[in-house]
């Protein structure tokens, strides 16, 4: 009963915040909407008993990605400039595509009716986080995807620094 209430409340708050994130002309407000949506996702993870990923969601998405987005919004606009309209003139087509996609996926879920077809879910083992940690470094488990992810992060780090720095010449031009 309580979980149902928490789920519905979270879902409503999350979707309203997501709408703010895509509709607001002021991009700083849009980024705040994104932050609320990310927190809502973390609440859903807690409801699904994925506690480690709920914490990771807050630390990685809210703590790092959202802050990066706010920084780059502030770095890429002239001080004091008005926001102006932030939507393309073709937005009705975007609405059509997005609406159609949502309606079709929702209808698909209803047609499949997973709640009737699937057996009741088993309980999550209490030591699932410990098992996840062991599986990530287990040669018979998921050590290869884990290492590939770390190489990808290293490559992204070096690439981001190289692209954003732009060399000595760009640096001089910026400080002119």
């Amino acid at each position: 009963m309580v979980t149902t209430f928490v789920f519905l409340l979270t879902a409503v708050v999350m979707l309203v915040a997501a709408l703010i994130a895509v509709l607001k002309d002021n991009l700083v407000h849009a980024a705040m909407g994104l932050v609320v949506t990310l927190f809502g996702t973390a609440v859903l993870f807690v409801l699904m008993e994925a506690y480690f990923l709920a914490v990771a969601q807050v630390v990685i998405y809210v703590g790092a990605i959202a802050i990066l987005i706010v920084f780059s919004i502030m770095l890429t606009r002239r001080v004091g400039a008005a926001w102006g309209a932030q939507t393309n003139p073709t937005w009705p087509f975007a609405l059509l595509v997005a609406g159609l996609l949502t309606v079709l996926v929702t209808r698909m879920v209803r047609a499949w009716a997973p709640d009737q077809v699937l057996p009741a879910a088993a309980a999550v083992p209490a030591d699932i986080t410990a098992r996840l940690g062991a599986a990530l470094v287990d040669p018979n488990g998921y050590v290869v995807p884990f290492e590939v992810a770390s190489v990808l992060l290293l490559a992204a780090l070096i690439g981001a620094v190289y692209v954003a720095w732009g060399g000595r010449k760009a640096e001089k031009e910026t400080h002119k």
Binding site: L44, M48, L53, T76, N88, V109, L132
Partner: protein, 102 residues
Amino acid sequence: MIPLSWYLVVAALLFGIGVYGVLARKNAVAILIGLELMFNAVLVNVLAFWRYLQPGETAGLVFAVVIFAVAAAEVAVGLALFIAVYRKFGSSDVDDINLLKW
């Protein structure tokens, strides 16, 4: 327990909102915000299927962890690109990036 289909419907709505953001927004960073919403919808789906189909296995959680890493890499590279573009064009609207147009 909350039915699986509720999670799927919420994720579908979130994904749809993200698609709208990606297609309708002018500013490159706002497009990235839409992309993040879509990533989150996918994460909710992955974890919902893990919880309701294989809660005893770690495969679903590992999948989510890898999605986290890829999302972080994507945002870092994307924002670095936008800052480089802003330096060159003085704007981060995707309409203004027209080097390949003639």
